[in-house]
């Protein structure tokens, strides 16, 4: 475990204070920021962090690289939305139903896939997610197939007779995302500093050695999977409610699974702040590409004339390029910074420490 200077409970003071300050700032943000677009970006970042932290528990800590986590995202989304839209079950129950369904499915998938190692596990996880996506496309009576499901109305959330929110603005989603994110961070932190966390990491580092040290691989992998699935499924449900529309090509896509992994890799696998950094880097960047902000900025800066062929190309095409850039980023990070930004820093500190000891 990373350890800086310790004080009482193994936490260093400065980072804790900064984190608390940041959390307070995030809670107060909607009061000071008018732009709904900014709120939108924050919500997407929150969801991305939650998905990243969720994946991290299984992939980063336990070393089981699933590139099929979209399956759990989609199952959460579809369960919640189907229950709400067709059975009129309120989403604050529906998301938990989504979690339950996703965990059960996860345990079944785990029992099949956890016997496999390394690349075979990756392949199996992709195959499973694809099975879900194609199934969702085909079970038209349940999921409406490729057309997807459009939400008509989210019922207002009441306590007694008092309406807390009617989900008409982005603000309630902002707070829901923030709270779940904080819970995810807290759970990850608790896991890190628990026997579970040690066992997960041992499995990641060397499965056979871990086995010989008294660790029941099946049990602990499934525990890690369950934690992972809970957060991924919650993110899926919230996404579905927020965006108001889901279909297999968005919530069950291989692209989504790859994005989740990328978020963790860029920031640093197996750390709490890795997914945060990854999300903070990828989400605004991808949005900026999508909405043509970057193209516009290049043109505005005078580097390229709007009327030139290149300028035209930028305006028309750059917004479609975000996946291309993901791909390039992925290649670059794997080649030059496979442990992500945080991992890179960690290595430098450890090397420095070794020099000091000699």
């Amino acid at each position: 475990m990373r350890t800086f200077k310790h004080n009482m409970r193994g936490m260093s003071t400065l980072p804790v204070l900064l984190t608390v300050a940041a959390v307070i700032a995030l809670f107060l943000l909607p009061n000071f920021v008018e732009s709904t677009y900014a709120l939108h970006i924050m919500i997407l970042i929150f969801l991305s962090v939650i998905m990243g932290l969720g994946w991290n528990i299984l992939g980063g800590y336990t070393g089981q690289y699933s590139v099929g986590h979209a399956a759990y995202f989609g199952v959460g989304a579809y369960t919640t939305i189907i229950l709400m839209q067709y059975r009129h079950i309120a989403p604050w129950y529906g998301v938990w139903a989504g979690v339950v369904v996703a965990v059960i499915i996860g345990l079944i998938i785990g029992s099949i896939c956890f016997r496999l190692r390394g690349p075979y596990f990756v392949l199996a996880s992709i195959a499973v997610a694809e099975i879900f996506r194609v199934t969702a496309l085909n079970l038209k009576n349940l999921t409406n197939g490729a057309e997807g499901i459009l939400i008509t109305d989210i019922p207002p959330f009441k306590i007694g007779d008092v309406i807390i929110t009617d989900f008409m603005s982005k603000v309630p989603f902002y707070y829901i995302g923030l709270v779940i994110l904080l819970i995810a961070v807290f759970v990850t932190w608790m896991l890190q500093n628990s026997k579970l966390g040690y066992y997960f990491q041992a499995i990641r580092e060397d499965q056979d050695a871990a086995h010989s040290l008294g660790i029941n691989l099946t049990v602990y992998k499934n525990v890690a999977l369950s934690f992972s699935v809970v957060f991924t499924s919650l993110a899926g449900s919230i996404y579905g409610l927020y965006v108001g529309f889901i279909d297999p090509s968005t919530v069950l896509a291989l692209d989504l699974s790859v994005q989740i992994v990328m978020t963790c890799i860029i920031g640093g696998i197996g750390t709490i702040f890795g997914p945060v950094i990854g999300a903070v880097v990828l989400v605004p960047f991808s949005e900026a590409l999508r909405s043509n902000m970057i193209a516009q900025a290049i043109i505005d800066s005078g580097l390229v004339s709007e009327n030139s062929g290149f300028g035209f190309f930028l305006k028309e095409q750059l917004s479609h390029a975000h996946v291309l850039i993901y791909g390039i980023l992925l290649v670059v990070v794997i080649l030059y910074m496979p442990d992500g930004i945080l991992g890179f820093m960690r290595k430098k500190i450890s090397a420095k420490r070794r020099k000091e000891a000699l």
Partner: protein, 237 residues
Amino acid sequence: MAILEIKHVSKFFGGLAANSDVSFEMVSGMIMGLIGPNGAGKTTLFNCITGYYPPSRGEILFDGHRMNGLNPDAVCKLGMARTWQKVRPLAKMSVVDNVMVGALCRTNSLKKARVAAMEKIQVVGLENRVKFLAGSLPIGERKKLEVARVLATQPKLLLLDEVMGGLNPAESEEIIQLILDIKNLGITQMVIEHDMKAIMRISDRIVVLNSGEKLAEGNPQEIVSNKAVVDAYLGGE
């Protein structure tokens, strides 16, 4: 009272008999040397004993428990632990965290695990390396780390697979001392080793394997003067 009984154990891989009708017993507190040329079946026997695969035939009894078919984690919890011929540090975890993983076999409290880990780290002499990442250690220290980690599981029986492999004489001497210290702690040990001088010094009894079969068993003097052993193994080396 026999702590370990190997009864007519055989292990087949396809048509190949890696172990063939091997039988011997170990008494609590002893050090048993397991020697033989490369490919004799020593590591295979370790793997059968510790649950990596079940023996094809025969029985393995530990403290009276039948061990055939138990998984490695169950074997560890019952009090048998092993080190690996090719060291397996948990590379991205620190030295103390590595040993704690072993200690967590016996406790759920991180605090207690840390205390137990620090104690074992002192036994093997890695106090200066506590916060180092295991992957950054040189081979000699990795071997010591593996011993500390396995000691933390509080084994009654410890199986050491070529723990001196790849070490220089000074490092080997430290390991020999460590093995003798472990004996003083009351832990029974089975040691696979190619370093004959070391085996002679530490072993109470020696079992010689050759081509999967038990060739001979006896105390060091008997083994050294056993013609068949000398022919098959010592002479050939």
